[in-house]
Amino acid sequence: MKKIIICFLFLVVGAGLAIFIYGCAESKMIAEKSGSQLWGENCIRCHNIPSSLEYSSAEWEVIGMHMKLRANLTDDETNKIVTFLKSEN
């Protein structure tokens, strides 16, 4: 029974998620955020902010994918942050 309840809850959340995905776009303010701003806001949620020179451009691409999965960053956030870090290299 508990399993059914948990599955039901996740289904509800999943349905809500689907609605969000197709119904809620990011606001203009969020869409206009730069890679450097997103880098400063998101990294510090868990750890200190590394210098952009800490890794090469190719390594930042790998780290970007790792952090997208670990911190569940959005696609746009990840792309902007990685592009910014590569441009600083």
Binding site: K2, I6, L9, S27, C46, H66, L69, D76
Partner: protein
């Protein structure tokens, strides 16, 4: 003469710049093409190494040492971007296993292959860090954890066999992603895994082991975490986690319906305050695990039952004067943490007071971290624990951890 030389050079400069520009455009096109095909891999070897020291300040037992360099370890992490859609990540942990034979524990923390389905969803499979709460996936790595140790938890130092441990690794499949919600955003991780295993051995009856690589039953645990970041600057996050699975052995008529339900609430808040030239960070997590009612062996001929539920939580505050003028002060982070574990009070394996009654274990950590780089730092904490029997062990814990 000078003008003639200049006029002579101009056509060559023009041809060179044109061909260089075309080369650059062609190179960009090639990179774009290559990134879409498999085989264009990028790999990064990163990780953390650490060593530490422990001082039992008020240890009155004359048979055990008061001080020891007990903490060492090395965790290489392999990150491999196979293409824009495939990603593999793995971590191996080699550390002191804490036993008297001085051996090192060697463990595959995780090995997970992920595939990006679309911009909102990635599917992954393998041995993965449990997406239950925030601590396990995000704050636990030794180069990220600000303290020299983890918050109080049901591990070997507090309860036997890591029972009811709510974090660690699981074997299974997950889907995850981040979704913008106007000026806010949310993220999710939903998974299915082998689930927990119930211990039935005498003196261990009712213990729960989540690290269950070779499943003990056909039932699979379902669970996940939903995170909400209500502010546009992502400074605040709330996470809600839940999971449920059958823990009893397959075919065991007495225990094959005994399940375990767990939930957790986590939060984190980061704020830069110019007035005090500092960054503050508040984070915490509450966890609750409940196992279905069952009888367990007490002696060879008698059984007993108990309310098999465990709660634990921690809350921590840190402040780093990162904008201060003093070059030493700006690298120092001051830390305060309170944590609590309440095991099932009537279980034979839970710690008891002098009257044989179970109770909570509490701990306060007061410490600091001196950051040499963003991931390298010297962590020191003074911790005072309170055991159910009223004992107050006090320890000084030091760890130097370096991310690489």
């Amino acid at each position: 003469m000078g003008i003639q030389k200049f006029l002579f050079a101009v056509p060559f400069l023009f041809i060179f710049s044109k061909s260089y520009g075309q080369d650059t455009i062609q190179t960009e096109k090639n990179i774009e093409l290559l990134s879409a095909v498999s085989g264009n891999t990028k790999m990064l070897l990163t990780g953390v190494a650490w060593f530490g020291f422990l001082y039992h300040i008020n240890n009155t037992d004359k048979t055990t040492p008061k001080t020891t360099f007990n903490d060492f370890g090395f965790s290489p992490m392999f990150l491999w971007k196979l293409s824009d859609k495939f990603f593999f990540e793995s971590e191996i942990e080699i550390q002191n296993d804490g036993t008297s034979d001085n051996s090192a524990a060697f463990d595959l923390e995780y090995a997970k292959l992920s595939f990006r389905l679309n911009k909102y969803m990635t599917i992954g499979a393998g041995k993965m860090l449990s997406p239950f709460g925030a601590y396990n996936e995000r704050w636990e790595p030794n180069h990220i954890e600000k303290f020299p140790n983890a918050p109080l938890r049901p591990d070997d130092g507090v309860l036997p066999d890591d029972t009811h441990l709510f974090w660690g690794s699981v074997m299974g499949v997950d889907v995850r992603g981040g979704v913008p919600l106007g000026s806010a955003k949310m993220n999710y991780s939903l998974y299915i895994s082998n689930g927990p295993k119930l211990h039935l051995e005498k003196e261990m009856g009712g213990m729960l082991q989540y690290e269950n690589w070779n499943d003990n039953n056909s039932n699979k645990e379902v669970g996940g975490r939903i995170g909400f970041l209500p502010f546009p600057n992502s400074s605040l996050e709330f996470g809600f986690s839940g999971k449920y699975g059958i823990a009893g052995n397959q075919g065991d008529s007495l225990y094959n319906k005994i399940g375990a339900t767990a939930y957790a609430v986590d939060f984190s808040y980061v704020k830069s305050i110019d007035a005090i030239r500092s960054i503050i960070n508040i984070r915490g997590q509450f966890n609750s695990v409940t196992v279905g009612k069952a009888n367990y062996q007490l002696t060879d001929s008698t059984t007993y039952t108990f309310d098999n539920a465990m709660q634990s939580y921690f809350a921590q505050f840190s402040i780093r004067p990162g904008m201060a003028g003093n070059k030493y002060l700006k690298k120092t982070e001051f830390l305060l943490r309170y944590s609590d574990v309440t095991p099932p009070k009537d279980a034979v394996w839970s710690p008891k007071d002098t009257n044989g009654q179970g109770g909570s274990i509490k701990r306060i950590d007061i410490g600091l971290c001196y950051w040499v780089t963003w991931s390298t730092g010297l962590r020191i904490t003074y911790e005072i624990s309170t055991m159910p029997d009223g004992a107050h062990p006090k320890e000084l814990v030091v760890r130097f951890a370096t991310g690489f």
